[in-house]
Symmetry: C2
Subunit: 213 residues, 2 copies
DNA sequence: CCTAGATTGTGACTAATTTCACAAGCGACT
DNA sequence: AGTCGCTTGTGAAATTAGTCACAATCTAGG
């Protein structure tokens, strides 16, 4: 089991897709699946599926394919979905609110244990069982509630400072919606969701396609 | 000017970052910038900056660097930001609402010209100057308002059908927030924003980091 | 006009990722 | 038990992306 090897980011993303496909198959009571089928549902090729999985071991049976339930279980393990994660949401604006209500987070084991904001109007409001707290309590919240992941849904000018404080308080993972590059120590993992960037990729693609002769 | 060559997706994403950095520099009245400085602000290396730009031509002056205004202008051109884009938003739920209000879209030239939803309770409501329309009018809206880009912020089970209809109506770009892989013709561009996937990448990273000996 | 210092643009190299191709292994059927 | 059809797992090849190093060339200053 080569667990220590470096795994490409893209492999991880595909693994997530495979898991989603497997869950659909589970709900359809399928018992086995081939790399070919998994590839189609995940939008890639059979060879890629097998290569991706081979990074983590060998889970299939030659001539037969993969056991849906077993592979799904293994992938959940790989992605760290065997436990629940405590998420601290910073920013109770539009985006924060949408994320808080996003049903697939809870479904996948991500529990929003706290919401913070800097706006005095919002502080004290209750979102379901969670009361919005002042952003000053970030360190307190992270340590007392043992937050694993911080989601930053704040204006760009506030993001770096909050990231610094979260890291200082011991968080090892940040999901950043603010359109700025964060500077964090190497052991802290950051993923970016940059909505404008996604649209720009599209307008580039459309423009290019048109100008190609 | 090698415009026809295939450009890596990752280059485009970095170009977006460079443009953001340049706009900050513009607001600080800087007139020139070196690849080194651009690299630091964009989170990459000087060589990478130059290689990325070289895909599109040569915009700098040796010994001096790049003119901030000129390069920003050129990058806007490359990314297709010289015109305004008409975006049709499908789904007026939490995510849709957050996107509709997202200030950076308008700032960058993406105008939400219509909002559609399937919920009778929502249809007819006014979001600022835009009235929410029934999702049945998708084709009509795309053709009458000349929609360029469709944003899908709908439940996964509805996404494929809506994508098919949007493509049929002539849309060439889709930004998909539903956690499903869309099947579209090759000439249609799709980018995915999959929030769960981003969190999974983080929980994987944390888990791995811990288990590495 | 010539030199010094700086910085680009790019071709050669290196690293990473994906694709290919096929031996190995499994189950079903005879 | 032996054969057949199918599907995995994986090294090797091909492709793609990123880094390096340096010639080319610009400005400034004497």
């Amino acid at each position: 089991m080569p667990v220590t090897r470096h795994i490409p980011e893209s492999t991880i993303r595909r693994i997530s897709h495979y898991l989603r496909a497997l869950e659909i198959l589970e709900s359809q009571e399928a018992t086995t699946v081939s790399s070919e089928e998994l590839a189609q549902r995940g939008g890639t090729t059979a060879a890629q599926v097998r290569k991706d999985l081979s990074h983590f071991g060998s889970f299939g049976k030659r001539g037969l394919g993969y056991s849906v339930a077993e592979l799904a279980d293994r992938l959940r393990d790989i992605l760290g979905l065997k436990c629940r994660w405590r998420v601290v949401l910073v920013g109770a604006g539009r985006i924060g609110s949408a994320l808080f209500e996003y049903p697939y987070f809870v479904q996948r084991g991500y529990d929003c244990v706290a919401v913070l904001d800097s706006d005095p109007e919002k502080i004290g409001m209750s979102w379901g069982p969670v009361r919005i707290r002042p952003v000053e309590e970030l360190e307190l919240v992270i340590s007392s509630l043992k937050g694993d992941i911080v989601i930053l849904a704040v204006p760009p000018e506030a993001a770096q400072d909050l990231a610094d404080r979260a890291v200082e308080a011991g968080v090892r993972a940040i999901l950043n919606f603010a359109p700025v590059q964060l500077r964090v120590p190497a052991e802290v993992h950051v993923t970016y969701v940059n909505l404008v960037l996604e649209l720009e990729a599209l307008s580039f693609a459309i423009t290019q396609a048109g100008s190609r002769t």
